[in-house]
Amino acid sequence: MTAVDHVDFDFNEGEIVSIVGESGSGKTTLSKMLLGLISVTDGQLYFQGKPRDISSRRKKQEYWKNIQPIFQDPFASYNIFHKIDSVLLDCLNMRGFRSASNAQKVDMMTEACSFVNLKYAELTNKYPFELSGGQMQRLMIARIFLLKPKILMADEPTSMIDACSRATILDMLLKLRDETKMTVIFITHDIGLAYYISDKVYIMEHGKFVESGKPDDVILRPTQDYTKRLISDVPKIYEPWDLDAI
């Protein structure tokens, strides 16, 4: 069983790259490989022009300063036994503010929370399950804001969230990108969403990239049947939904 099979791609600083595919096409596996959570059986990953080296814990920690994720399910992303503060404090520790004064830490956390329209004073000493899904996901963005990694791996960050919060979350991601000039790898099953935000789109089917390029080229002039099907799967309000293609 191969989830991700010989994919070849590259992306540049400051880009938003979307990887689009249906469930089970290997998107999440690919993202975990990039994050270094699953080992790669074959091939090479280059980061900043050098082969990625995460052979030891220290090197991994160094690597993870540069790449951080936002996961699909905000409810599963938090340790329910820890207060919210600990998530943000971990970020500060990672950035080397371990010995900073308490007031300074609170200032930084307050800033991060206000970036995502949350109030730190209301969140402190609360447990994750006391927040709504949208709030949790925004807090995840606040975490990224604190860490300021070079690459953000956003794995379906809006799929568990209702449509209203979705736009807010996407706007915040874009704002964060503009502010920190980070590369965003955006993984989604929603090709419309990918068209809306990406600089480059990769279409993934059964662990392979079948089509790639600028969103205008890929989505407006698709060459592959699979891409056409993905596009027809997006429900449209003013047209009848073509169920035959499914």
């Binding site: 994050l35 991994k60 920690q61 993870w64 599963a76 340790n79 998530v87 520790n93 990672m94």
Partner: protein, 415 residues
Amino acid sequence: MKNTLKQVFHSGKFIFGFVIFVFILLMCIFYPIFVAKDPLKMIGSGNFFPPGTYVSQQEVVDSNSIYKLNIDTSASRFQMALSVENRAAMQEWLIKYGGIAEEDIDVTDAEGLAKLWISNYSAEKNGKMTSAKRKAYKRLDEAVQKAMKDSPLYLAEEGEDGSLQQIKKIGGSDFVNTKTLGSTETFLLGTDNFGRDVLTELVAATKTSLRIGLIAGLIATAIGLLLGLLAGYMGGTPDNLIMFVTNLFTVIPSFIILILISYSVGDAARGAMTVAVIIGITAWPWTCRSVRSQVISLRNRDHVNLSKLSGHSMMRIIFSDILPYIMSYVVMAMILQISSGILAEAQLSIIGLGPSTSTTATLGLMMNWAMTYSAHLNGSWWAFFPVVLVIALISFSLNLMNTGLDQVFNPTLRD
């Protein structure tokens, strides 16, 4: 935490089990405060006294009180006077010459038989008998008459010259008020084969057995939990290695290993705590296996990944991101381990491989003693039945608490 406790104490099953367990526990704590005697002190000479209140016979004899001992001695007097052969002869005469139906005669009731004899016997009816038989019946009649009469008991002491001197005469109508006696003993559950008070012994034994169960359960859970966490989280070679050892322990029945270890440790070294440790280090495999499978299902969760990406060490992830999620399960597993530890001690002891000690009693040892001295064959139920009941109650209450907890922590099981 407070909320969880509240939820737990809403479960009827848990409360029921908890109440039984706490009752046993309080019994173990408070009984020794009121009854301070050594639980293994041999009090009565002779084995298996049935439950009841006993008076020291020495006290009876030495008593110079004007009050008198209230013991019905007549029954035992008849019992002694009439041998089995004599009773058979009396029965034969009463049927043949007295005209009494066989079913009206109860040879086991010596006093009743004697009364029947006195009211029906007359020497005139013996005319047709051989003279030997006539003489035999005459002697028998005299014996019954003598037994009917209240003859005093003489206490004698051996004098300096070897002759017996009467020191006291106790008549059948001499009574003593039991309230004035100092040395009465009440054995609510009788005594065992060594004349030890079963109740006091039982309480001490329960305490030791609970301690053995607790130590065995703690050791088994600690080993199983640690190995399960490591195997589940690390995967790969460490997992294979740990699972190899665990499977080795699983395929050989742990009771066999238990017997072999207990045997090879030797009698001298086998104290109660040694047995607890031995039980603990043979009982961990199933905890290890189930903890491992729980950890495997947890280790790829997003919160664990996030913790990894936050640069936390493996130990920190295991103990702060995985352990809290399985803690309720671990507590339940430990309750079962304690229960099975107590049972394992009882099993080991009953076949004679338990703690080899004459200073501490355990529930298993009490069963072993009762079995060795065939309490189950001579009807001394008080020597083993209460022990069985306590073992069953402890195990029942612990399992009930476990089921109650399971329902609280697995909402799908709630009805």
